[in-house]
């Protein structure tokens, strides 16, 4: 791990108490932040040169109670060539997280996509509407409870193939 990454990591952990850090086996820096801190953490990182928001997406873990949803940010410091992955855990009954559109113009559509597919609400977003799915869809299709195939079908039996 580079000196720069260590320095930034230490100051994040010092400043924001609810943050945990893990360096995974693939050499990626993972932070888990609380949703109250995430905006401040990203703003801090942006001032430290992390000016490129690589990716923003969500995932759904229905098994893990109290943290069913996760918002995942990848943020890149181009000068030092360090990439951090930030995660925010959200409980099913409170899917609110602050928007990053005031820091990165590009977060706009990425957040809309995450809202569209997972129903995560980005507070303060200027136009949080569906983007890829049709406007009158009434559910968020990437949630795990929506199976890909119609479960009422009887003409396909995949029991022996581990599905």
């Amino acid at each position: 791990m580079s000196e720069f990454a260590t320095k930034i990591k230490d100051s994040i952990l010092e400043k924001y108490n609810n943050t945990s850090y893990e360096l995974d086996t693939y050499g990626e820096h993972n932070f888990i932040c609380s949703k109250n801190d995430i905006h401040a953490v990203v703003e801090f990182l942006k001032n430290e040169g992390f000016i490129f928001l690589t990716d923003l997406t969500g995932s759904h873990y229905p098994e893990s109670e109290g943290a069913e949803f996760q918002v995942v940010y990848h943020i890149h410091n181009l000068a030092e060539n360090v990439r951090f992955r930030l995660k925010v855990d959200l409980a099913q009954n409170d899917l609110h997280v602050p928007t990053l559109t005031d820091l990165f113009a590009g977060a706009n559509w990425m957040e809309r996509e995450t809202f569209d597919f997972f129903g995560i609400i980005f507070e303060g977003h200027p136009n949080l509407t569906r983007i890829l799915n049709v406007d009158d869809m009434d559910y968020h299709p990437m949630k795990k409870e929506y199976a890909l195939e119609d479960e009422t079908r009887t003409d396909k039996d995949d029991t022996f193939f581990g599905r």
Binding site: D24, T25, Y26, E28, I51, F52, L53, T54, D55, T57, S59, H60, V72, H74, L78, N81, R83, R85, F104, A105, G106, N108, W109, M110, E113, F117, P126, N127, I131, L132, N133, V134, P141, M142, L148, E149, F161, G162
Partner: protein
């Protein structure tokens, strides 16, 4: 101030100073329009030919790739990636293979890396050729397009020798290639490397320093480096604005650190700069292919990972282990480690990323594609507000927005 208010304010400033006929009209550009080269809808507010505001609608060809991927074994996801940026499918395929290889911790032989580099750089040339010749078409210069499409056909002939397909290639496997480069491949590639630069220089001579073309494209649809970074632009569009971010250099994959090449950058981020950056990148790609071909290491064309790479058919019928591995791979029963990886490659349009979460099951638990088109297309209204309608068309074609990648 919200984005909409900001746009309205910009529009209002325009109307008061440069009114043409004072009447604002709504123009529906798309979803199917011959000049948009794909299914894009833009609702424009225009005053005469001036654009006052624009609003895009996307999602017309959304095919739920991320949901589909959650039901498919790892090796069945490669054909999905073909259909992202279909102008450079091999880069998408190999990006996916490398993501899985990173997850399972497989090391590739040098030869596989070099073979991949050759195919990926050919794909980059094909991608940039389409984009640049179409910029020509949109300025009224059809000639270059017809000649460059002939050259693109030759690249497709080369693909055919390594994978049998032309457009949706599904080239390679997790762990390398399904076959080595054959004689025909090398002959066709060498012929292409010999003849293409001449024809390409002719195409360059038609447009690069053409006064009419320069007057038409310089200053059309500009974006500053700061705004481009804020919008997470990547690839040629970001480099045209003057930021030298290229994944091949920043996070080298597939042995790109072995090759000597330059990253061209522009200055103003306008249509002309985007065109010129792509022109230079084609020349750099040719340099890389030459180096890879001359220094091609000896060795195997696939890694030694029997539980992920299909054994040869003769062995399947004659040896027990091969039969077991074959069965397990085809049925998707290979054990996969748990974990999450993010891997990105420099696609035709910039950083193409794969965020993959595995829970150890036969399919990915979650797969997200970072699609450069989707991310940078949101800057389009900002880039065309205040310009003429014909410049908006040029801006779109020079950004190389590909519907398949945009909507996934």
């Amino acid at each position: 101030m919200s984005e909409l208010e900001l746009q309205n304010k910009k529009a209002a400033a325009f109307v008061s100073t440069e009114t043409i006929d004072g009447e604002i009209a709504t123009l529906n550009l798309g979803p199917t329009h011959p000049a948009t080269h794909g299914i894009f809808q833009n609702i424009l507010q225009v005053d005469g030919e001036r654009i006052l505001s624009a609003e895009q609608t996307v999602g017309y060809i959304h095919r739920a790739f991320e949901k589909l991927a959650e039901r498919r074994p790892y090796n069945q996801i490669a054909p999905i990636t073909d259909r992202l940026n279909y102008c450079s499918s091999p880069i998408n395929n190999m990006g996916w293979h490398m993501t899985v290889e990173k997850l399972i911790g497989a090391e590739m032989p040098k030869r596989v890396d070099y073979m991949r580099v050759i195919v990926m750089e050919l794909a980059r040339i094909a991608d940039h050729l389409v984009c640049n010749s179409v910029i020509g078409v949109d300025t009224g210069a059809l000639t270059g397009f017809t000649y460059m499409f002939q050259e693109r056909e030759k690249i497709y002939d080369i693909y055919e020798e390594i994978c049998g397909a032309r457009l949706t290639t599904n080239v390679g496997r997790i762990g390398g290639f399904d076959r080595d480069f054959n004689k025909e491949f090398i002959t066709k590639l060498r012929a292409f490397l010999k003849e293409f630069p001449k024809k390409f220089d002719e195409f360059g001579a038609l447009l690069e320093r053409n006064r009419i073309f320069m007057d038409r494209t310089i200053g059309a649809g500009p974006i500053s480096a700061e705004r481009a970074l804020s919008y997470s632009f990547a690839g040629p569009n970001l480099r045209a604005a003057g930021v030298d971010y290229d994944v091949r250099v920043m996070k080298p994959y597939s042995s790109y650190q072995d090759f000597d090449f330059n990253i061209p950058v522009g200055n103003d981020g306008d249509t002309y700069d985007r065109f010129m950056v792509r022109q230079q990148e084609i020349r750099e790609s040719l340099k890389i292919i030459h180096q890879a071909l001359e220094n091609m290491p000896q060795g195997d064309y696939h890694a030694d990972i029997p539980s992920f790479y299909l054994p040869p058919k003769e062995e399947v019928y004659s040896s027990m282990e091969a039969l077991i591995y074959h069965f397990k791979i085809v049925m998707g029963e290979t054990p996969i480690p748990q974990g999450e990886v993010y891997h990105s490659v420099e696609g035709g349009n910039g950083e193409l990323g794969y965020y993959l979460v595995s829970d150890g099951g036969r399919t990915p638990y979650r797969l997200h594609f970072r699609r450069p088109c989707f991310i940078y297309y949101q800057a389009y209204p900002e880039m065309i507000t205040g310009s003429l309608l014909s410049d908006a068309i040029l801006t779109m074609s020079s950004m190389n927005v590909i519907a398949g990648e945009l909507d996934a």
